[in-house]
């Protein structure tokens, strides 16, 4: 039972990180129908920015929780800046191009960013300081759920709730929903579509950056390649829940995280990533619209 609970909590932690990254995929897809392949790389850049800031601050002797907050804020700023720039350079000029073009451009961007970080930093694994302090809650719960896991899950829940409220009640959120439904119509009623798209990229990138710093501090090491696998898995989560739907992305993230945790715990840990890919392939084949997605009729 304890093993089961441990796996469950581990899965929940993984799942919440996937959900955080998946929100970015799902928002961008909802609005411009593009799989932002470079999204995983933004998560990676967020983690690297977090590492650099945290490294500098530890040397200056800041206290742990302060470092965590500042690192996350800096990661958000830079990741958002990257997301914004990428959209302007690689996707905006292709708004009206055939569908394959932005996708290839996105893949190119992803390759570029990975190699850029690899060349500027290193290709080795870099140790990441443990930013989330240990604290004991109930004695025997400690081995099942660490404080880092608790922080990650809580941060995800907070981000999700915040984002949902933002989309529901703010003017920009309303504009986003309008743009997602029909871009041309939104433009006609006075929505600044370019601004909405930029905002979507900025918000999505910020969430990915939060995920990047939290998971890096939990795992304890990062390298330039982490964005690729995380990106694919987050995409799986987004598709699993139904791409374009925010609650779907959260649910998909949790389902994927739990599936992975139990599969590696009870079946085999060698094939960890295979389970995620298999789940992705199966979902796309049998229910491409995902758990919470709607079937979309195709327009000619």
């Amino acid at each position: 039972m304890e093993y089961f609970l441990e796996l469950f909590m581990g899965g929940l932690t993984r799942g919440s990180i996937y959900a955080l990254i998946a929100l970015g995929y799902t928002m961008v897809y909802g609005i411009i129908e593009l799989i932002n392949f470079a999204h995983g790389e933004i998560y990676m850049i967020g983690a690297f920015t977090g590492l650099i800031v945290a490294g500098l601050l530890t040397m200056l002797g800041f206290p742990g929780p302060a470092i965590l907050v500042i690192a996350i804020v800096c990661a958000i700023i830079w990741a958002a800046a990257y997301g914004f720039t990428i959209e302007k350079m690689a996707y905006k000029p292709l708004r009206n191009a055939p569908r394959l073009s932005p996708l290839i451009s996105a893949i190119g961007m992803s390759i570029f960013l990975q190699n850029y970080v690899m060349l500027a930093q290193t290709s080795d694994f870099l140790p990441f300081p443990e930013l989330i302090p240990h604290f004991a809650f109930i004695d025997n719960m400690g081995s099942i759920l660490s404080s880092a896991e608790l922080v990650i899950i809580l941060a995800t829940v907070a981000s999700c709730v915040g984002l949902t409220l933002f989309i529901k009640f703010t003017k920009l959120g309303k504009a986003m929903r309008a743009t997602a439904q029909n871009r041309k119509m939104a433009m006609l009623v006075g929505v600044n579509v370019d601004m909405v798209i930029s905002a979507t990229f900025i918000i999505g990138s910020s969430l990915a950056a939060v995920g990047g710093v939290l998971i890096a501090s939990h795992i304890g090491q990062i390298n330039y390649y982490i964005g690729f696998i995380a990106g694919i898995k987050a995409f799986t989560a987004a598709v699993l829940g139904g791409i374009g739907s925010l609650p779907g992305a959260m649910l998909g993230g949790l389902v994927l995280g739990l599936t992975e945790a139990f599969a590696t715990g009870y079946v085999s840990s060698d094939y960890e990533d295979v389970f995620a890919f298999l789940l992705l392939v199966l979902i796309l084949i049998f229910r491409p619209s995902g758990i919470m997605g709607r079937e979309k009729t195709q327009k000619v």
Partner: protein, 412 residues
Amino acid sequence: MTAGCDNFAHAVRKSFLAALWFVFLTFPIMVIRVNTIEKTVVWNWHRIGYVALAVFFGSFVWRWLLARKELKKDDSRNESRVESLLTKLQSHPVMKYAALGLLALAAIAYPQVFDLYQTNIMISCLVYIVLGLGLNIVVGLAGLLDLGYVAFYAVGAYAYALCNMHWDIGFWYMLPIGAVLGAVLGILLGFPVLRLRGDYLAIVTLGFGEIIRLVLENWGDVTMGPSGISSIARPGLFGIKLGVVGSTQYMYYIMFGVLVLTIFCVNRLQNSRIGRAWLALREDEIACQAMGIDKMKTKLMAFALGATWAGMAGVVFAAKTTFINPASFTFWESAIILSIVVIGGMGSIRGVIAGAIILILVPEYLREFAQFRMLLFGAIMVLVMVFRPQGLISAKRKVYEYKVAATGAAND
């Protein structure tokens, strides 16, 4: 965006701002490198200067290219100079055959003139051309973005390596078997993903490629895991034992033969009924179905035929390097092959050949820049998509022109 050209001061200001923005953007990752264990920080201030300069001048080029693209929008005949030269060459039958003959002679003489190293590079370039032409069927002609193409390549290579190790099956038997295996796997992948297209298809094929690679890496009993399979037999020449130089030259000629066969087949396919169906599928799937084309058959054919060449190239690759491991079949390999097709020109045989030569040969000779190779690939992929989506050499369909006095009307 077009305003940048007529107002110089404005352009300078914009470029300056862009440079500032990129300095801010790249600052942490380019400048600071921390080591949290030894508690050391390395500051690379000089890099920021490079970034600023590169962005400042790059911004002018970017603006100029955007402006040029705007101007060319209504000009339907935007051919590059190389292309129009090629077109002219092709319309002259005498010139065409003379050029082809010269090319063939040069190719045959190549390994005799150049040394072993050059020949080896050329072989890998030829392998990539074949891979590119294979992927070109799937991506360029049928418009199905396949990011797991390397899986078929891996299957060909592993099939040869394993069969050679266990049952001592020779190269010449495995070449067609590898092709068939590729085709079968292509159909197996094609069946479940028939309903998907575009982005979803890209992701599923990517997942499929990764699954194959992970299985190769983890199924140690069969595939030897990450350490790979070594001392794979080179192809024999009627039982004659060849030295290193001889076998490399022999490999070159085999690969050249495979390439000629590939070009012949792909060219014939392109203009065949099924090739036309692929183009229709690429342009509009629903309209294509409405025209009575069997979508399922067409898609499966594209997957199967594309994978055939990958399977064959895999066998040649294993025979050439005599050592394979899963590290040769990562997603990056798929990305390289894709960029060959994309940068060269989707759907164009000449484009794919040009793309492979540029992307494989040029980095080999610019060894100092080898580490920037993938960085440049990524950047070029974005730039090509933004500024020249048809690639370096765009595909041309046969156009039958009907000229009425001065104004000509063109029909497809």
